[in-house]
């Protein structure tokens, strides 16, 4: 398959290793992966703040960059959620609808489309706490949220359980939001950081060495919180583990 690699702006700037892991992982499965160089952002920061008109040009650019691929895959739940569910500042032409429908978050691509059976190159002998970001959990439906009375499933856990050595720990409040919330993180910085402190403390108390997530934005926020209050816990994106990161 020919895949357009969608590297969200903050991953490009702060977490290049997450982008590299995503690229290599998709290539391991034999896909032709193309990184359109003119990509910038999906428009989510403006849209989430209510400024829909201001993301029209950015959304149009996204479509220009990612038109014509079999799939567009990005390692960020909230960005993919924006593209798929809220990307409506521009006219919904066939081309726009096509790009939106073909855009997948990495975990769901590997789980639902690739149906990945094994990651023989990966080994991660550590206790991990899985952080389901709200975008992946309640919008992209990676897993059953604790509020609903539905049969349990978890796509990220399915994938991670195929990696040798992983031991899962369960925090007391497994799917409580960590408080990032995009512009919320600065608009309500006091509440945002308190939520972050509580999140990392909960994982640490459960015995996690690593917090693992499909969203680098949550991890960036949690890491900043853990470092500030001195919680000794490490952070890693799920793409890095699945690609065989040694820790």
């Amino acid at each position: 398959m020919r895949i357009g690699l969608f590297i969200p702006c903050f991953i490009d700037a702060f977490f290049p290793e997450v982008g590299i892991a995503t690229l290599e992982l998709l290539e391991r499965f034999g896909h032709e992966v193309v990184y359109p160089r003119d990509q910038t952002c999906c428009g989510q920061p403006m849209a989430n703040s209510g400024f829909n008109a201001d993301c029209a040009a950015t959304e149009a650019l996204f479509v220009r960059n990612f038109s014509g691929f079999d799939y567009v895959v990005g390692p960020s739940g909230s960005c993919v959620h924006h593209v798929r569910d809220n990307f409506d500042a521009i006219e919904q032409t066939d081309e726009v609808r096509e790009v939106r429908a073909r855009t997948y978050e990495l975990v769901e691509f590997l789980h639902d489309i690739e149906k990945a059976e094994a990651f023989p190159w990966a080994r991660f002998p550590h206790r991990i706490g899985l952080h389901n970001s709200c975008g992946t959990l309640r919008r992209l439906k990676h897993a059953t949220p604790s509020e609903l009375h539905e049969p349990f499933f978890s796509k990220p856990m399915d994938l991670l359980s195929k990696v040798a050595g992983i031991e899962f720990v369960t925090p007391a409040r497994p799917d409580e939001c960590c408080g990032f919330g995009g512009t919320f993180s600065v608009f309500e910085e006091a509440v945002s950081t308190k939520m972050g402190y509580d999140k990392v403390t909960d994982h640490a108390r459960a015995g996690a060495e690593y917090i693992v997530s499909a969203d680098s934005s949550c991890l960036m926020h949690q890491q900043g919180c853990a470092e500030r209050i001195g919680v000794p816990i490490k952070f890693i994106h799920i793409a890095q583990i699945l690609n065989g990161a040694a820790a």
Binding site: C9, F14, R138, L148, G179, S185, V186, E188, G224
Partner: protein, 519 residues
């Protein structure tokens, strides 16, 4: 020590002392007997209790600064910890009840469908309700807004020469500023719900639709009662405080001239009013005095009695994680020799019903589950919203009353969506929060600095060359990138957390260097 008992001990240590009041060593004798009043007051001195943080500062119609009030709430760690844990405990109890009912999700869908059906034929059902209530011998009044509601109730009370009114908890009367109005016309109002009475005595609004004083520690209550009903200021034993309140309130209840209740469900086919309480105080309010007035928001209508079963099964499970409220009282008509009035209140509801994106907020049954689950609400307290309705449901209802005053509220959310999942009538709360942000931008109710920053971000992010130039060097990335995230409070990210560590190169430059030939 086994890991089992260790876990139990750790769990107890993590729990806020407020939640362990029954096991308070200082309130129990060595023989295991609870201390009575006199003994309780002689317990050893403790450090002065933490002051209760107060709610948002209100300046007329100027935008309420929820973030500022939340910051003060967080600065009172005992309050914040108790509040967060207490409400999270309710959420967990709700989950347990849910897991005990295989048909839970089906019930939610049914409840939502009944409400949507009713709201789309509201005029018919309201008239049916009115006709049936009148047949039952009830006087029915219609109020366009809060002022009309207050005036109608005042006129009824005046007709009966009533000077005092006991009432059970009602969010609608809070909406109408009813207590303040009654004070201005010289009628004494006595709240009969314990939490609501605490809030009334403290001259403070309820902070939660179900547990109105949940933000208060027992030491706060001791302080309020000491000032208002003369309890011992040093005794914060909950049994002592509850008993003292009961003794001070009961005589007022028995002597009251009139009684008032709200309404949880108004049944069109029977014309009856259903009120759910845990204290039985609606029954006192409706049955002790000869005159009973029920104030009802027009969205409370359900078509038939059989529909009530669906809601009764969901209401208390969602609210408190208990199977049912202690009392589910049906009021169908006046008692012998008494009089019953119903005031049907619109107060903006018809207008909301016409709002394409927001009308389903009228399905709300005021269970408070969205507040209990909301991580922002739990850490900022209901009074930080500065509005009648706080928490997630407040974010989408309050702006319909005053878009300017409550323009900040839809931004007091991470859009995590837990609220929509716990909602027993399936209101898409987080999607409406998102929609309100768009709406407020359209109405120009957002700060100019934010507007300018978003416009600039939109321009930069749509021009690849300019964008690339802005973040080429990683140091520059750190300087530029936060700008479209951080629009006005430039130092907000780093105030309480560390900034991300800049990598040696961006993904883009890594790609150019390592895969540069590939296009």
């Amino acid at each position: 020590m086994s890991s089992e008992s260790e876990r139990a001990r750790n769990a107890a240590a993590m729990l806020h002392p407020e939640l362990l009041a029954d096991h308070d060593d200082a309130a129990t004798t060595r023989g295991g007997r609870r201390l009575d009043h006199a003994e309780g007051s002689s317990k050893p001195l403790r450090p002065p209790p933490e002051k209760q943080p107060r709610g948002a500062k209100i300046h007329g119609s100027r935008p309420v600064d929820q973030a500022e009030a939340a910051e003060r709430f967080l600065a009172a760690p005992q309050h914040e910890k108790m509040h967060d844990e207490r409400l999270w405990d309710l959420r967990q109890k709700r989950d347990r009840e849910m897991h005990g009912m295989p048909e839970w999700e089906e019930l939610r869908s049914l409840a939502s469908a009944i409400k949507e059906h009713t709201l789309t034929r509201l005029d018919e059902y309201l008239e049916q309700f009115e006709a049936n209530a009148q047949k039952n011998g009830v006087h029915v009044h219609w109020a366009r807004d809060a002022a009309e509601h207050n005036a109608i109730v005042h006129a009824i009370l005046k007709d009966h020469g009533a000077k005092s009114l006991i009432k059970s908890k009602s969010m609608l009367t809070e909406e109408c500023g009813f207590r303040h109005y009654m004070a201005s016309v010289g009628i004494e109002v006595i709240e009969t719900d314990l939490g609501e009475r605490i809030q009334q005595l403290d001259n403070e609004d309820p902070s939660h639709v179900v547990v109105p004083a949940v933000h208060k520690l027992r030491t706060d209550v001791a302080e309020v009662f000491a000032k208002t009903i003369g309890t011992d200021p040093d005794n914060s034993d909950v049994h002592y405080l509850a008993e003292a309140q009961r003794r001070s309130n009961r005589p007022l209840i028995l002597a009251a001239d009139a009684g008032m209740t709200g309404c949880n469900f108004a049944v069109a086919e029977t014309g009856s009013v259903v009120v759910c309480t845990n204290e039985g105080n609606a029954d006192l309010s409706a049955n002790v005095p000869k005159l009973h007035i029920a104030s009802i928001g027009i969205e409370k209508i359900i078509p038939r009695l059989e529909h009530l079963a669906v809601f009764v099964r969901l209401l208390s499970r969602s609210a408190l994680g208990s199977p049912i409220t202690q009392y589910t009282s049906h009021f169908r008509g006046p008692r012998k020799g008494g009089e019953m009035h119903i005031v049907l209140v619109d107060n903006g509801r018809s207008e909301r019903l016409g709002m394409a994106e927001f009308w389903t907020s009228l399905k709300c049954i005021r269970c408070g589950a969205c507040m209990n689950t909301c991580p922002v609400y739990r850490r900022s307290g209901g009074l930080s919203y500065g509005a009648t309705y706080s928490g997630p449901i407040g974010l989408i209802i309050d702006p319909t009353f005053n878009a300017r005053k409550y323009s900040n509220l839809p931004f007091a959310s991470t859009l995590n969506g837990s609220c929509s999942n716990v909602c027993p009538v399936k209101i898409n709360i987080h999607e409406q929060i998102y929609a309100w942000r768009r709406e407020l931008v359209k109405l120009h109710e957002v700060p100019f600095a934010k507007k300018a920053a978003m416009k600039a971000a939109g321009e930069l992010l749509s021009r690849p060359a300019a964008y690339r130039a802005a973040i080429t060097a990683t140091n520059a990335a750190l300087a530029h990138l936060p700008r479209f995230v951080i629009y006005s409070r430039l130092d907000a990210w780093g105030k309480h957390r560390e900034v991300p560590h800049p990598p040696k190169q961006t993904f883009h430059s890594w790609y150019q260097a390592n895969r540069g030939g590939k296009r």
